[in-house]
C-alpha cells in the first residue's frame, strides 16, 4: 500500500516537472512561430549560453532569423562530437529546409553532411569551416577563418619583430578544442613561413580562462627566464589579459613586449588602446551569428552564395582601436 502511494507521489512529482518544462518549451516554440516562419532551420552549434561567445552570437542569429522568416531550432552539443552527430541525426529526421552547422570537431562532420545530402537538406557552415575535402557537401560558409585569425595575428607579430630574433611565449585555448587547434596552427605555420626569426620558447593551455592563462604565463616566464621573453601570443583576448596581468605581477612592463592575440573583445580592446596589447584580430560574434542566417536564407531563396564568406579578419592595433567598425561586442 505504502509502495503504491509512494509511486503515485513520485509519478505526480515527475509529471508536474515534465508538464511545466514542456509547457515552457512549447512556449518558446510558439513565440518563434509567432514570427510566421516560412522556413524550418536547424542550427547545430557546439556552444550556446554556456560560453561567452555563444551568448552574443545567439541573439544576433535569432534576430536575423526573425527578420528573414526563419524558424530556428538551436542545439548545443557542448563540443562533444558524438553529441553533435546525434543532434545532426535528430535534425535530419525532422526534415527541416536547411541545417546550419557549426562543427564541434571539424574532422568528424562528414557523416552528418552525407546524411543531410542524402535527405536533400542543404547545409551551411558557420564559425569554423569543415575540412577542404568535405566542402562539396556544403552549400556555403560564413564566419571567421579561425586558421586565418591565427595567421593574421602571426602577421602582426612578424611586422613587429622586424626581422629581429624574437622569443615569444604562446598561450593556447582548451586542449583538444578545434578553435584552439586551428588558431594555433595558423599562428605557428605563418610564423614558420614568414618570420622564422620569431621563436616560440614555450606553450601551455590557458583553457580560454583569464586566471589559468595568468598562472601559466607567469610560470612560463619563470621557466624560460623573463629576460629572454620578447613577446606573447595568446589565442584570445581573455587569455591575453591574463598574460598581461602576469607580466605586471612580475614587475615587467608589457609595453615594450610584442603581444598579439585574437578577439578585440571588451576585455582586449582597452588593452590595445593602452598599448599593452600590440595587436589583435577583430572577431564579431554578432557578424558571425547574423551572417550564418543570412547565408542560410540566401541558399533557401535559391540565390547563389560565395563559397566562403569570411568575416573580415580586421587587424586591430592602436591606430584603429577606436574605429566604430571594430567596436568590441563581448
Amino acid at each position: 500500500m505504502r509502495n503504491i502511494r509512494i509511486m503515485t507521489g513520485a509519478a505526480s512529482l515527475i509529471a508536474i516537472g515534465l508538464v511545466s518544462a514542456c509547457s515552457s518549451s512549447s512556449g518558446s516554440e510558439e513565440s518563434s512561430s509567432d514570427a510566421s516562419g516560412e522556413y524550418e532551420v536547424y542550427a547545430l552549434l557546439p556552444q550556446g549560453t554556456d560560453q561567452p561567445y555563444g551568448t552574443t552570437y545567439l541573439p544576433a542569429m535569432e534576430e536575423e532569423a526573425a527578420k528573414n522568416g526563419i524558424n530556428l531550432t538551436i542545439t548545443n552539443s557542448q563540443y562533444d562530437a558524438d553529441r553533435q552527430a546525434s543532434d545532426c541525426r535528430v535534425a535530419v529526421a525532422a526534415r527541416p529546409d536547411l541545417i546550419i552547422l557549426w562543427p564541434a570537431v571539424g574532422d568528424t562532420v562528414r557523416p552528418c553532411l552525407a546524411a543531410a545530402q542524402a535527405a536533400d537538406i542543404p547545409v551551411t557552415v558557420t564559425n569554423s569551416d569543415v575540412n577542404p575535402g568535405d566542402k562539396d557537401l556544403t552549400a556555403g560558409y560564413s564566419g571567421p577563418d579561425t586558421y586565418g585569425q591565427g595567421a593574421a595575428s602571426a602577421e602582426i607579430m612578424c611586422e613587429l619583430a622586424e626581422g629581429n630574433p624574437t622569443n615569444i611565449l604562446m598561450v593556447n585555448g582548451l586542449t583538444g578544442n578545434s578553435t584552439a587547434i586551428n588558431r594555433r596552427d595558423g599562428f605557428v605555420e605563418t610564423i614558420e613561413a614568414e618570420c622564422p626569426n620569431v621563436e616560440i620558447l614555450a606553450e601551455q593551455p590557458g583553457n580560454w580562462n583569464k586566471d589559468d592563462s595568468q598562472t601559466v604565463t607567469s610560470e612560463m616566464l619563470t621557466s624560460v627566464g623573463a629576460e629572454n621573453v620578447d613577446g606573447i601570443f595568446a589565442a584570445d583576448d581573455t587569455m591575453v589579459a591574463g598574460a598581461i596581468d602576469a607580466l605586471r605581477a612580475q614587475g615587467i612592463d608589457p609595453q615594450p613586449l610584442l603581444i598579439t592575440s585574437i578577439g578585440n573583445t571588451e576585455l582586449g580592446n582597452p588593452l590595445v588602446k593602452s598599448g599593452d596589447l600590440d595587436g589583435t584580430i577583430f572577431q564579431s560574434s554578432s557578424w558571425d551569428g547574423q551572417n550564418a542566417v543570412l547565408v542560410a536564407s540566401q541558399v533557401l531563396a535559391g540565390e547563389t552564395v560565395e563559397e566562403d564568406l569570411f568575416m573580415p579578419s580586421v587587424k586591430v592595433t592602436q591606430e584603429n582601436a577606436d574605429d566604430p567598425e571594430v567596436a568590441p561586442e563581448w
Partner: protein, 342 residues
C-alpha cells in the same frame, strides 16, 4: 502441501492486488517504467517527431545507453568505474592511429580489456576502493589520449569504411543500433542465464556468502571490469567509425549520462540489485527525454536542469531512502512528543 505438517511459512499472497504487488515488488525497474511512461506521454503530446523519427531516437538511446550497459555489470558487483569516458577516448584514438581498420578495431577493443584488467588489478589485488582507483584512471587515460593524439582529432585512414558504417543496414537501423541491441542481449543473457554473470549478483549482494559458496570472487570482479572496459572501448570504436575521426576529448558527456541511466533504471550502487533491462529502460527514458527536448528546441541548459531533477528524484525515491527519510520524520515528531509528555 506435500508434507504431513501444515506449515504456513509463505507470505500471504492471496487476492489479486496482493499478488500484483508481490510481482511488482520483485522488480527493480519500476521507477524507470514510470519515468518512461511519463516521457513517452509527454513526447507524444509535445514532440511526436520523437516517434516518427524513431531511428534517431534509437540512435541517441544507443549513444548514451551502450556505456551504461557495461557499467551496470560493474555496479551490480557493488563497484564503480569512473574511467569509462576516458577509456572511450583512448580506444578511439588507438583505433584511428592504426592504418588497418580491422587491426585498429582489434587493438582498440584490446585496449578496453586491458584498461578493465588494470582497474580490476587495483581493486582486487591492491585493495583500493574502485571509486578512487578508477578516478586515477580517469585522469591518466584522458592524459594518455591527449599524448597519443597530440591533442588533436585523429582522422580515420579508411574514411569510406567509416562512412558506410554510419549508414543504415536494414531499414533505418544503423550498425550502432544493431551493436547496442547485441550488447544488450549478450549482457542480459550473461547476467540472467550464464553462471559467471549470475554470480555477479552474489558478489554484489553478499560477498562473504559468495566466497563461502566457492564463487571465484576475484575472477568475477576482473570479468566485470573487463566487460565495462570492453563496452566503453566498443563505444569508442563506434563513435570513431561514425565520425570518421577520433576525438581525444570524446566522452565528456558520456560518463554522467551513463550513470544516470543505470541509477534511474534501478541499479543500486551498493551492488546486488538491478538489471540490464532496467538500465535499458533508464537509457530509453533519458534518450527519449533528450531527443524530445532537443526537437522541441529546449536549450541544453534547461535539458540539464531536467535530467538533474529526474536523477535527483530517482535517487531519493529509492525505497531505502524513503524509509530513512520517513524514519527521520517519525523520530522528529516523536522527539517532540517525548519532550512534551512529562
Amino acid at each position: 502441501m506435500t508434507t504431513s505438517q501444515t506449515m504456513s511459512l509463505g507470505e500471504a499472497t492471496t487476492g489479486f492486488s496482493a499478488r500484483l504487488r508481490a510481482a511488482l515488488g520483485r522488480r527493480t525497474e519500476w521507477r524507470a517504467i514510470i519515468l518512461l511512461v511519463l516521457v513517452v506521454v509527454g513526447a507524444l503530446i509535445f514532440a511526436p517527431t520523437v516517434f516518427t523519427a524513431y531511428q534517431v531516437t534509437l540512435g541517441f538511446v544507443a549513444l548514451i545507453g551502450l556505456i551504461a550497459l557495461g557499467l551496470t555489470a560493474v555496479i551490480l558487483m557493488g563497484e564503480l568505474d569512473l574511467s569509462v569516458a576516458s577509456t572511450l577516448a583512448v580506444s578511439g584514438v588507438v583505433m584511428a592511429m592504426v592504418p588497418n581498420i580491422f587491426l585498429g578495431v582489434t587493438l582498440a577493443l584490446l585496449t578496453g580489456l586491458v584498461i578493465g584488467a588494470v582497474n580490476a588489478f587495483f581493486v582486487v589485488k591492491v585493495g583500493i576502493n574502485s571509486f578512487i582507483a578508477t578516478l586515477g584512471m580517469l585522469f591518466a587515460l584522458r592524459g594518455l589520449a591527449f599524448v597519443l593524439s597530440d591533442a588533436e582529432p585523429v582522422p580515420l585512414t579508411d574514411i569510406e569504411a567509416g562512412i558506410s558504417f554510419g549508414m543504415p543496414l536494414i531499414g533505418p537501423i544503423t550498425p550502432r543500433i544493431v551493436l547496442f541491441v547485441l550488447v544488450f542481449i549478450a549482457l542480459h543473457v550473461f547476467v540472467t542465464r550464464v553462471r559467471a554473470g549470475r554470480e555477479f549478483y552474489a558478489v554484489g549482494g553478499n560477498r562473504q556468502a559468495a566466497y563461502d559458496a566457492g564463487i571465484p570472487v576475484s575472477r568475477r570482479l576482473f570479468t566485470g571490469f573487463m566487460i565495462s572496459g570492453f563496452v566503453a572501448a566498443l563505444a569508442g570504436v563506434i563513435n570513431t567509425l561514425e565520425l570518421i575521426a577520433a576525438d581525444p576529448t570524446a566522452g565528456s558527456t558520456a560518463l554522467l549520462a551513463s550513470f544516470a541511466a543505470a541509477i534511474i533504471g534501478g541499479v543500486a550502487l551498493t551492488g546486488g540489485r538491478g538489471s540490464i533491462v532496467g538500465t535499458l529502460l533508464g537509457a530509453l527514458s533519458l534518450g527519449i527525454l533528450g531527443v524530445g527536448l532537443t526537437l522541441a528546441g529546449v536549450q541544453v541548459d534547461i535539458q540539464q536542469i531536467f535530467i538533474g531533477s529526474v536523477l535527483f528524484i530517482a535517487v531519493i525515491t529509492d525505497p531505502a531512502s524513503l524509509r530513512a527519510a520517513a524514519g527521520s520524520v517519525v523520530t522528529f515528531l516523536q522527539s517532540r512528543k517525548s519532550q512534551t509528555a512529562v
